[in-house]
Symmetry: C2
């Protein structure tokens, strides 16, 4: 295994592509020596964008891709038809082992579909979950799954708990991370059919630190490091996080403009308030991994800037250094062993 982490980067995806994407790549190769970037997208545009920056030329390579998948396109069709899109070309680099990881700020649907169809699942993984980090009072928690595949089975959720634990411990650095399942009450007998079926399976897992059911109310407080749920519920949680936060912030801002007294106060508290609110913005933690694939696939937020791209690239390096996929293979096959014994 080479010590260099090779990242295939979709240079055409996202609101600020290609400039911010390319800038993030340049900052990453300038900051560290063990990263190489394969930029996929329209060659002439990328040559021109890259010409604006200084960086070690041999560490960023352009791989031409003549098509772009738009966010509004139906993802399955887009992946099937646009074989020369920046997403498909980059994912095929991962598939062929020419890159370790893939990052895109483009169409979520295409990334999710492409991850499964092009990159492919690790043997034994039933369903690859999308697992964003969400801000909490204690730091961050991993919300797993927020992907596109709804109507999950209990065996999927057990795998999510295991893969999430590996990621939280070895990429985020949280020792022996706690795992909770989202439920409508803390008692074991509560829940819908899926949760009731999954609960005893998680309880029986020796290789995770399962703390039981958690209520949605306690997620922002940071009650569990790994928050397990099926994708529909995960999607509701992720988006409501954003929605409640942004509506509340708007309300606070407009209320502070309502009186002379509060206007003066607002001037004084503005910098602090801004930093706090940013800190609690789920979109700030945009590098969500799609776990369980043959290579790392990271979906960053559509409005990602260079900083987020840079952070996602470093995340890929940790993922490779920590041999996360080997650890995922180990934890999943260990369970199979247990079941067979």
């Amino acid at each position: 295994m080479s010590d260099i982490t090779k990242v295939a980067l979709d240079a055409m995806g996202g609101d600020h592509a290609p400039y911010e994407i390319v800038k993030g790549a340049v900052e990453a190769v300038n900051a560290t020596e063990d990263i190489q970037i394969l930029l996929t997208g329209k060659e002439e545009i990328l040559v021109e964008t890259l010409s604006k920056f200084k960086y070690p030329k041999e560490r960023i390579q352009i791989v031409n891709a003549s098509e772009v998948i738009e966010t509004a396109e139906p993802p399955v069709m887009a992946i099937r038809r646009k074989k020369d899109s920046s997403i498909s070309v980059a994912m095929n680099l991962v598939k062929r082992g020419e890159a370790d990881a893939f990052i895109s700020a483009g169409s979520s649907g295409a990334v999710l579909v492409g991850g499964q169809v092009l990159v492919g699942r690790i043997k034994g993984v039933e369903r690859p979950p999308l697992a964003p980090l969400i801000p909490t009072a204690k730091g961050v928690s991993l919300l797993i799954d927020c992907g596109a595949n709804v109507d999950a089975r209990s065996s999927h959720l057990v795998q999510f708990a295991k893969m999430g634990s590996v990621y939280m411990e070895h990429v985020i650095g949280k020792k022996n991370p706690t795992v909770g399942i989202v439920n409508i009450g803390a008692e074991e007998e509560k829940g819908n059919a899926l949760v009731k079926e999954t609960f005893p399976l998680l309880k029986a897992c020796k290789d995770i630190n399962f703390i039981g059911s958690i209520e949605a109310r306690d997620i922002p407080a940071g009650v569990a490091d790994v928050v397990v749920c099926e994708a529909f519920v995960g999607n509701v949680i992720l988006k409501l996080y954003e929605g409640v936060g942004s509506t509340l912030i708007k309300k606070i801002k407009s209320s502070l403009m309502a009186s002379f007294r509060s206007k003066i106060g607002a001037l004084l508290v503005k910098p602090t308030l801004k930093a706090t609110l940013k800190d609690f913005d789920a979109t700030e933690y945009g590098g969500a991994p799609l776990l369980g694939l043959n290579g790392l696939v990271v979906k960053t937020h559509g409005n990602a800037t260079a900083k987020e791209v840079y952070n996602s690239i470093l995340q890929c390096r940790t993922f490779k250094e920590q041999r996360i996929n080997e650890k995922i293979r180990d934890i999943l096959s260990a369970t199979e062993q247990e079941t067979k014994e």
Copy 2:
């Protein structure tokens, strides 16, 4: 039909019982002439509490109930065994037609179970939903269902949409309320099995103002007046609303105490900030109706004070005056007709 609204009020339930509950009742009968309260609970305690207030004696009546259901008790068992509890006695008053409505700040589980077992459903109602009001940027929306019965069917969700529309229009006063179904994307083909099955049924309803799928992100913005979902998802939404709000508020408060500059500012913005945050606190809109029963059942928040009890009592009066249950019967049977034709 009498013009007086008779409310059976559980005087023993909630964190501030019996004092705040009794106080709310006293304020209601002092404010309006067409309300009568039947207070259920331990007679000697209630006689003593009532003696502290001035009010028209004939309009508050004590109905002795020797037992109290604690919030930690398993609800089915509690309703079955404690036949002389303040909840059971009050619900039986509604069942026998001696009261029009029931209000409790006590055990949610017992209220939900008791509503179905003791008060009973309106003929044709498959499942009674619990429908709290949640704050939005535009005012309030009705979140239906947040009850205890999970794993709903599409026919339940259609009834929720209809009952919620009636309530929003005639109790809250929102003309031709918009109805949205919670989904993981705005497109019609998205969703889990339940949502996909329900979507065309809602689209076909002529008697509601269906606007399609809504994402959780848009709920706080007030994109739909009636937010339809099954109870598990509704519970997650309601509790995450509380959780994100309270964590964010704590973070803001502690950040404002971090520097001298922001401390001074904090003093100036405090009153405005407090009012805004209170305005956006889901627990402030605590009088959630359990719809579709033979009589109105209202669950107020566990920490309800006199003001919330007072508001819930007035809500019961509107519910009766507007003949909500007749309207629910009409809208549900109109649909049955359509289906049969």
